[in-house]
Symmetry: C2
Subunit: 258 residues, 2 copies
């Protein structure tokens, strides 16, 4: 019997989870407070939508909350008041502990966290994406495993502590890295140089991660202790005090080692 | 008539430039102070090597210095004393101004900078790599163009100032980014989680750069202003004060915007 899912949330993550579920499982309904987002995903999947939790379809086995971390506790509370306290409810957040559900009246709950950055306009390759799943009881853990297998074979059961660590690491390698790409772009923009100049270098930096660990591939003036070049770079960056500060602290960190 | 080149330096950059030149131009000789590196490249290319500048072959048109920034001025000086002052000498450094040659007795000099990170064990795709070339006279500039065309069609003539800016940007997107990958690995190692978990996320972060500019794709707790998650992350990072400091300053920078 296919898994019946109601999806709460139709942002970047909800959009792609919903699209995939509508094709490979049984997606019953899509909820979003934003009528625009709800309708967009409904049109894509052919599944009805609602913008009101009162109208949530009670026939599903799993209620998947692909919403902002801050909204999870409150939506869970509302689901309880609406009579869903016996249903399996899980969130898709890397950062939120499963204990967020403990103070609600929910009896069955869990986490269903795909470790990826989603964008509406870009099709994810779910087979490559690790899913971290956890439930507050073994039966629901098995159900979430089954749901995850709809997406990937890379399924991990992690404690809150380990998932939180994974999320911190993800912030370093995704959010912070992207910010540094933005810094690079800012510097090139000011010189009327195209950002595309840096793409082969960035692509290679990442391709090398498949060969060896990052520390062993660290290069550059900080790693070499090339103080002359560092001084020249800091001098150049005087025009961007905030980038100069980033340069300083990252250089210091590379020199000290991790 | 093919360009005749003598390569001074057989590290990561010299290795790959030498390999390609031996296949697509005329590489006459390889120099490295390290006999091991000189012999390695000599065996690969079938070109003679020397570990002494005294023995440098005077028959080449171009002497390419693929050596550490700090050694450029001193090697250029020695080349002058050895009678090479009328030869075209260029370095392959992004960070070193062309003026490094001004105080030497060299009459013809320039820069031949491939914007990429090289590793001996990994074949670069030179067609994708931008080369930044510059000479102190138009005739030699044309010769360096010809040499660059042996590698790529992506040839740029940039002033010292613009090349220096490009190099600073490269440090942000390559050296600093790789250091953040190392930070992610350190966090996962301590939790006995495999670094491979993060590779799909990293790959996607970079793939998106081909679609839109980095700032428009910034996500995560800092961008959302999700102070609860930030506080949880900082609490987790108490065990790594140096990573906590990086987290703090990068989060602050994302919140302020570039």
């Amino acid at each position: 019997m296919p898994l019946k899912v109601v999806l709460v949330g139709a942002g970047n993550t909800g959009y792609h989870l919903g699209k995939h579920l509508s094709e490979h499982a049984e997606l019953l309904q899509v909820f979003s407070r934003s009528e625009e987002k709800a309708r967009r995903l409904s049109l894509l999947t052919g599944v009805p939508y609602t913008t009101s939790l009162d109208e949530l379809n009670p026939a599903a086995g799993i209620y998947l909350l692909a919403i902002h971390d801050d909204g999870i506790a409150s939506v869970a509370d509302q689901l309880c008041k609406l009579g869903f306290s016996g249903k399996l409810v899980c969130h898709t957040s890397g950062a939120t502990p499963v204990s967020v559900f403990e103070k609600t009246g929910l009896k069955r709950y869990g986490v269903f966290y795909p470790l990826q950055t989603f964008t509406v306009g870009r099709q994810p390759d779910f087979e490559q994406i690790p899913f971290i799943v956890e439930a507050n009881n073994p039966e629901d853990s098995a159900i979430l495993d089954e749901l995850a297998r709809v997406f990937t074979k890379k399924i991990y059961h992690l404690s809150d502590e380990k998932r939180a660590a994974l999320h911190v690491a993800a912030v370093f390698v995704n959010n912070f890295t992207n910010h540094l790409f933005g810094a690079g772009k800012k510097i090139l923009d000011a010189e009327s140089l195209p950002f595309e100049l840096l793409l082969p270098l960035i692509t290679e930096t990442v391709a090398k991660l498949h060969l060896a660990e990052p520390a062993s591939m660290q290069t550059g003036p900080a790693k070499r202790g090339d103080l002359k070049t560092i001084a020249r770079h800091l001098d150049y960056l005087k025009r961007y005090p905030e980038l100069q500060e980033l340069y300083n602290i990252l250089t210091k960190s590379i020199r000290q080692g991790l």
